[in-house]
């Protein structure tokens, strides 16, 4: 029973364009969401997060949008750069906010084409 779903295993985007990575969740208890980026042979690196009291959070080229009614969030990267090529994971603390362990999606492999 996957509570966090990333339905696109991979996504190819041209350099300079916008990358949009999607994530859906089923657990209504989730009220905080995180995006992690992972390069091969490295651990996941925290990228950006959003609390359920917001619908948008922006950090430089990265923006996360949250639609609570649809149980959907998305990560926008503008403009996309070659160094953005990585696997992106959506995650949520198991029982809502706080320091609980994270439930991850399966990840989306983003490939930025020159």
């Amino acid at each position: 029973d996957q509570q966090v779903k990333q339905n696109s295993p991979s996504l190819s985007v041209q350099e300079g364009r916008i990358s949009i990575l999607n994530c859906d969740y089923t657990n209504s208890m989730f009220d905080y969401f995180l995006w992690y980026k992972k390069y091969p042979a490295e651990g996941p690196t925290f990228l950006i997060s959003i609390s359920s009291i917001k619908d948008k959070n922006e950090d430089g080229r990265f923006t996360v949008f949250l639609n609570k009614s649809a149980k959907h969030l998305s990560l926008h990267i503008v403009p996309s750069q070659p160094g953005d090529s990585a696997v992106y994971f959506c995650a949520a603390p198991k029982s809502g906010g706080g320091a609980d362990g994270l439930t991850f999606g399966k990840g989306t492999h983003l490939i930025i084409q020159p």
Partner: protein, 113 residues
């Protein structure tokens, strides 16, 4: 500031043997987590320590896995005896007292043959 460090980075063992993985969290982080990623699948939660206490071990696969965090500093994860399906990358992460943002180590790739 040093990040989360894990030892070894790779381990190849035979089925039936024992392996111990080690994690050193970021200094001052009370929360320590173990996760596992089996090839191509999602990163799955195994357990959560708060200081030296097991807060949540609901993700531990079975009693062949034993995690400890003596003194609330570093942690070890022992697999005994190892089975083929235990192969994967084991990640350790740590976080501050209240924060959900966890910082991950580089992982230990375990291969059981």
């Amino acid at each position: 500031e040093a990040g989360v460090t894990q030892f070894p980075s790779h381990s190849v063992i035979e089925k039936g043997q024992t392996v111990t993985l080690r994690c050193d969290p970021i200094s001052g982080h009370d929360n320590l987590y173990w996760y596992r990623r089996v090839m191509g699948k999602e990163i799955k939660f195994l357990l959560h320590f708060v200081k030296e206490s097991k807060q949540d071990e609901s993700g531990m696969p079975n009693n062949r896995f034993l995690a400890e965090r003596t003194g609330g500093t570093y942690s070890t994860l022992k697999v005994q005896p190892a089975e083929l399906e235990d192969s994967g990358v084991y990640f350790c992460a740590s976080s501050l007292q209240d924060g959900p943002v966890a910082f991950f180590g580089q992982g230990t790739r375990l291969t059981v043959v």
